[in-house]
């Protein structure tokens, strides 16, 4: 297992370098003048240009630039915005909010998606099954911002059940609707995957064995059937945690949540590219690490898989 982990981490390095290098080059190298359109409408102040050029060695060849950038990044130095704020600080304030939102989304999608998937998997072709199939189709097909606006309009504006936007305190009740919106597509995937998985495993021989042993039905389903069917679902959930962070951009924009997504969005509008790159790099890193965690989780859940 240890050796496998090391190998996987080593494999992650080129992917990480490739992805970040691509982002880096796109933002700082491709435009020609690295400061073109990066500091709002009036262009970058001279002292900011000088400071960034020195710190990130922007006058050096691209690989030196990238190495410097990575070195600073790994030391937690994300650079500064042209107005003088530390990008690291911005991320540190915004990140916990996104994490809260993503966690809420994950809980909601796991609970609803799994319940729907298990129920329909056990009893296929009923009314509930068709209902779930159709509604998951909708959730998968619709862009998040459409789902977001529709639900915000109905629940927040028309019926006034929740406040349409989230306050700075990030109360849990306020996060339910945004969490649902953020997790909606994954919820549908989870419902479908667990439905298929349950339906496939339901007829498995070991389920028969468990019944033949005279175990109560809730134990047969709750322990023997579920434990096997959950393997693909858990991996899906894990991958999702990484992806949710990146997907939070739109949800945070709609519900006015001060997370990394909204920060990115604002940085795009104010043409504050240093912030954009840094956040994207952080999110990519999280995403890649989560994928690794999922692989390890997979081995932990299924004893038949051994990583050497």
């Amino acid at each position: 297992m240890g050796r496998y982990l090391v190998r996987r981490l080593l494999q992650l390095v080129p992917v990480f370098i490739g992805t970040t290098l691509m982002i880096y080059l796109l933002v700082w190298k491709v435009p020609g003048d690295p400061f073109a359109g990066k500091c709002g409408d009036r262009g970058c102040p001279e002292n900011y240009r000088a400071m960034m050029t020195e710190k990130f060695q922007l006058d050096q060849p691209w690989f030196v630039q990238y190495a410097t950038y990575m070195k600073n990044l790994l030391q937690g130095d994300f650079g500064t915005t042209w107005s003088g704020r530390e990008v690291g600080d911005i991320i540190a304030t915004a990140y916990p909010n996104t994490l809260k939102l993503a966690a809420m989304a994950l809980v909601i999608e796991a609970v609803i998606g799994l319940t729907a998937g298990v129920l329909t998997g056990l009893r296929r072709n009923g009314f509930l099954d068709n209902l779930v199939l159709v509604s998951t189709l909708f959730l998968i097909a619709l862009p998040v911002f459409v789902v977001g606006f529709v639900l915000q309009w109905f629940f927040g504006v028309k019926w006034g059940i929740v406040t349409p936007t989230v306050s700075n305190e990030m109360r849990l009740t306020e996060l339910i609707l945004p969490g649902f919106v953020l997790g909606s597509a994954s919820m549908a995937y989870i419902a479908r995957v667990s439905r298929t998985s349950i339906a496939e495993n339901r007829r498995a021989d070991y389920v028969r064995t468990a019944i033949a042993k005279g175990l109560p039905m809730r134990r047969v389903v709750g322990i023997h059937l579920l434990r096997n069917s959950l393997i693909p679902v858990v991996t899906l959930l894990g991958t999702d945690l990484g992806a949710l962070m990146g997907g939070a951009i739109i949800t945070e924009g709609i519900f006015g949540i001060n997370g990394v997504g909204r920060t990115v969005l604002r940085a795009i509008v104010t043409k504050e590219s240093a912030t954009v790159v840094s956040i994207v790099v952080v999110l990519v890193l999280v995403y890649l690490l989560m994928n690794l965690v999922v692989d390890l989780l997979y081995a932990a859940l299924d004893p038949r898989i051994r990583y050497e």
Binding site: R203, A204, D205, Y206, R208, T209, A210, I211, A212, K213, G214, L215, P216, M217, R219, H224, R227, N228, I231, L301, D302, P303, R304
Partner: protein
């Protein structure tokens, strides 16, 4: 119909072993069909057999003859749908299991009737240790503590002669060899000390040498525990050593039932005769193997009359018209052939 099959031999359970004597498990005129998109397959068409304490009944038949489906119906693990029980009774200690409540029936599983499956790799849950799956029964059914259950499970593994039972406890099914896995499966089925053990082709998936070991073990445990055993197999070789009685199934019916010796000596049904003749024999080396011509009938479209008639070398017009009932033809034996007497009495 069951009264035709009055077994003359004395019920071996009545010897003070503590088990109730007499009919332990009785299947009476059981009928099961599978309703699929393509039509209705009549899989079991009036099967009747019984097993007493301490005796082994072998149910013999080709794949698709309904022998496994009968066992699954007894166990209550038939896939429903597509399976439907359309008639008959399954009595355990005289009580019909098909009409009792789900909870009552569940209590019989494992404790009253237990089952061993053919493919131990898929029958054991891949994500739990073998020990967990055995100990689970002691914990759930007997309310034992985790450590007591573990102790008992290791004892069980010991009883089925798994070396280093203690160490093997925490292994996963895929870490066992086929034979060891089948032993573990046996340990699991015997954990709650069942009165009847149904072994559904327990050795089919194993190497020949291992097959014998497993059969020996099963026979030994069955004698020790004075269990009734239903041994389902398509392998005539397996049957001879272990079984007391044999029921031969064809197209969802019992076509012949007899003591092992009688059946081998004088089969009373052409199908049984065909089966016996198809065993390769050393004294007939170099000759072509004798097979039963044709294929088993499609269960969605069973031929009228005797289901075996299209393949039967002795078929007469009557065979295409009337289904021969399973009739007693002597002490403890019965045959469903119009010409059973002729068969038994020839040469």
């Amino acid at each position: 119909m069951s009264d035709i099959l009055v077994s003359e031999q004395s019920a071996p359970g009545a010897d003070g072993s503590g088990r109730p004597s007499g009919r332990l498990l009785e299947v009476d005129d059981l009928r099961v069909e599978f309703r699929t998109r393509d039509g209705v397959a009549k899989v079991i068409n009036g099967v009747t057999y019984h097993v007493d304490a301490g005796e082994t009944l072998a149910v013999l038949g080709e794949s698709g003859s309904g022998k496994s489906v009968t066992a699954q119906t007894i166990m209550g693990i038939l896939d429903m749908p597509p399976g439907f029980v359309t008639g008959g009774r399954v009595r355990f200690h005289g009580k019909d299991m098909l009409t009792m409540s789900a909870e009552e029936r569940r209590r019989i599983r494992g404790e009253g009737i237990a089952m061993i499956f053919q493919d131990s790799l898929s029958a054991l849950n891949p994500v739990f240790t073998v020990g967990f799956q055995i100990a689970e029964q002691f914990r759930i059914r007997r309310g034992m503590s985790r450590s007591d259950a573990k102790k008992r499970a290791i004892e069980m593994l010991d009883q089925v002669k798994i070396p280093n039972a203690k160490g093997r406890f925490s292994n996963y099914p895929h870490q066992f060899s086929g034979g060891m896995r089948q032993r573990a499966m046996i340990a699991m089925s015997l954990a709650l000390d069942p009165e009847v053990l149904i072994a559904d082709e327990p050795t089919t998936a194993l190497d020949v040498t291992v097959q014998a070991q497993i059969m020996d073990l099963l026979g030994e445990l069955q004698r020790e525990r004075r269990m009734g055993m239903i041994l389902i197999t398509h392998d005539l070789g397996v049957v001879a050593d272990v079984a007391d009685r044999i029921a031969v199934m064809y197209a969802g019916r019992i076509v012949e039932e007899a003591d092992v010796y009688d059946l081998y000596a004088k089969p009373a049904h052409p199908y049984t005769l065909g089966l016996l003749n198809s065993i390769p024999r050393l004294d007939e080396r170099g000759q072509q193997l004798r097979t039963i011509k044709g294929l088993p009938p499609n269960l969605m479209n069973i031929p009228p009359g005797c289901p075996f008639n299209p393949r039967c070398p002795m078929a007469q017009p009557v065979c295409r018209e009337t289904i021969p009932p399973l009739l007693q033809i002597g002490t403890g034996r019965a045959s469903a052939c119009h010409f059973a007497e002729e068969l038994v009495n020839r040469d």
